[in-house]
């Protein structure tokens, strides 16, 4: 692929590779797709639906296309025994990861509400309490999938969408991807080959971190940041699934998740050890 378009959206860097350059109309369409999802789901913008819903709770109309995301969260919540929940939003904000990037924890961060306060009756989300929803675990993968569909619809069937950490590859040949070492970003701990039609998600606690053991992956059962796992990578058939499972691996063993999902994985623990699944085309630089 020859054309690369780089831009920033939803607080991170994006790169889209296509065979032919994207014209202005196609670019505008892609940005609109991202923005539409951001307006519903971003807890970092005060005008988003989840920000407004967090003020009052109650019933909020979303889109039919959000069904996929909410059902996935429901399954992830069950598969991780409640560790992975989108209701960590308020607590994350209270710990300092808020819309203003305060990055200083409040003295009494809110507890993580029970999953029961949420009821999804497509396309309406009912919140029995004013809770702040955070779809950080799978939301970006969800956006990557939407961008990929948009590209296909605008005549760019062959493409690679790289949303920085979440990648969907629909190119002609497999793509070799370096697994970035969270301890040193100039290095890789391995290389994985992503086939056309596959997605790769990376999750690590090295960047969205702000001191004293605080980072963005919280265990919904304790409200505390995770400790054992340093980074995870997942290859799956779509970016949302890869993204959510990469986060779920911080809490739950891959063999347990594999009862419900088909995916390849690499897990790097805090002690620098790495495990990976055999059905993955991966080379790990270990000893």
């Amino acid at each position: 692929m020859t054309a690369v378009w780089r831009f920033e959206a939803i607080g991170t860097a994006w790169e889209i590779e296509t065979t032919d350059p994207l014209d202005d109309t196609s670019r505008r369409t892609v940005l609109d797709v991202i923005d539409a999802i951001d307006r519903r789901w971003s807890r970092f913008r005060p005008d988003s639906l989840v920000s407004r819903a967090a003020e009052t709770g109650g019933s909020w109309e979303l889109c039919a296309s959000d069904d996929r995301l909410l059902r996935f969260y429901d399954r992830l919540h069950a598969a991780t025994d409640g560790a992975l929940t989108p209701l960590v939003g308020r607590r994350l904000a209270d710990l300092g990861y808020d819309a203003d990037y305060t990055l200083r924890p409040s003295a009494t961060p809110a507890a993580v509400p029970s999953w029961d306060v949420v009821r999804w009756d497509p396309p309406v989300l009912h919140l029995a309490a004013p809770v702040l929803v955070d779809v950080g675990a799978a939301g970006k993968g969800f956006v990557v999938d939407a961008v990929s569909r948009c590209l296909a619809e605008t005549g760019h069937a062959r493409h690679t969408v790289d949303g920085s950490g979440d990648l969907l590859h629909a190119g002609e040949w497999p793509l070799r991807v370096a697994l970035q070492d969270p301890r040193d970003h100039t290095k890789a701990v391995g290389v994985v080959e992503v086939a056309s039609g596959e997605a790769l998600a990376a999750s690590a606690t090295d960047r969205r971190a702000w001191g004293d053991g605080l980072h963005h992956v919280l265990d919904g059962r304790t409200g505390e940041p995770t400790r054992d796992v340093m980074a995870t990578w997942v290859v799956a058939d779509d970016a949302m699934t890869a993204d959510g499972l990469a986060t779920a691996l911080f809490f739950t063993r891959p063999e347990d998740l594999a009862r419900q999902w088909r995916f390849g994985w690499v897990i790097m623990k805090a002690d620098g050890s790495v495990r990976w699944s055999r059905d993955l085309a991966v080379e790990v630089f270990g000893r």
Binding site: L103, R208, A258, W276, R278, F285
Partner: protein, 161 residues
């Protein structure tokens, strides 16, 4: 449908089988194998429909008469990834096993499932410079927004002051 292969391992744990199948002793001899039971198993053995021909497979069931008919039961077996389940359907004619079908149940029985957990482990990874690798992309934690990075720098500055 899996082909029944002829490795030694017993596939089905008998106590979990339903009554009718328990009595068909000859059947257990047939139910060897294919520890993975999935479609991906290499079918070195015969296909189920052919198990009527000769060999011990078709030996008369010892110890009495059994009503002709098709019997079904579920069984479990252990593999490196945990416990997997298969459904077994067996047809008896004149005290002989005429047909056996073993079907993996839902998830957890495929070869792919097993392979997931027969992967590798490295006690310590040694990072290699990305510049030295032949790769098209890099996958790590998402780059953070400028605002986040500035806030972190501000905190560091405040702490140092």
């Amino acid at each position: 449908m899996s082909g029944l292969t002829t490795t030694e391992e017993r596939l089905v744990s008998l106590p979990r089988l339903a009554k009718p199948l328990m009595t068909a002793v000859a059947a257990t001899a047939v139910l060897t194998t294919a520890a993975c039971g999935g479609d991906s198993t290499d079918a070195a053995g015969t296909d189920s429909a052919e198990t009527t021909d000769g060999g011990s497979d078709a030996a008369p069931a010892p110890g009495g008469d059994y009503a002709d008919g098709t019997y079904a039961a579920n069984g479990t077996y252990s593999n490196p990834g945990g416990t997997s389940e298969v459904s077994v359907e067996l047809t008896l004619e004149d005290n002989t096993v005429a047909d056996v079908t073993v079907t993996p149940m839902a998830s957890g029985t495929s070869r792919q499932f097993q392979d997931q957990f027969a992967g590798g482990i490295a006690d310590e990874v040694v990072g290699v410079a990305i510049d030295d690798l032949d790769v098209g992309r890099v996958a790590g934690s998402s780059l953070t927004a400028d605002g986040f990075n500035e806030a972190v720098e501000q905190i560091k500055a405040d702490a140092a002051a």
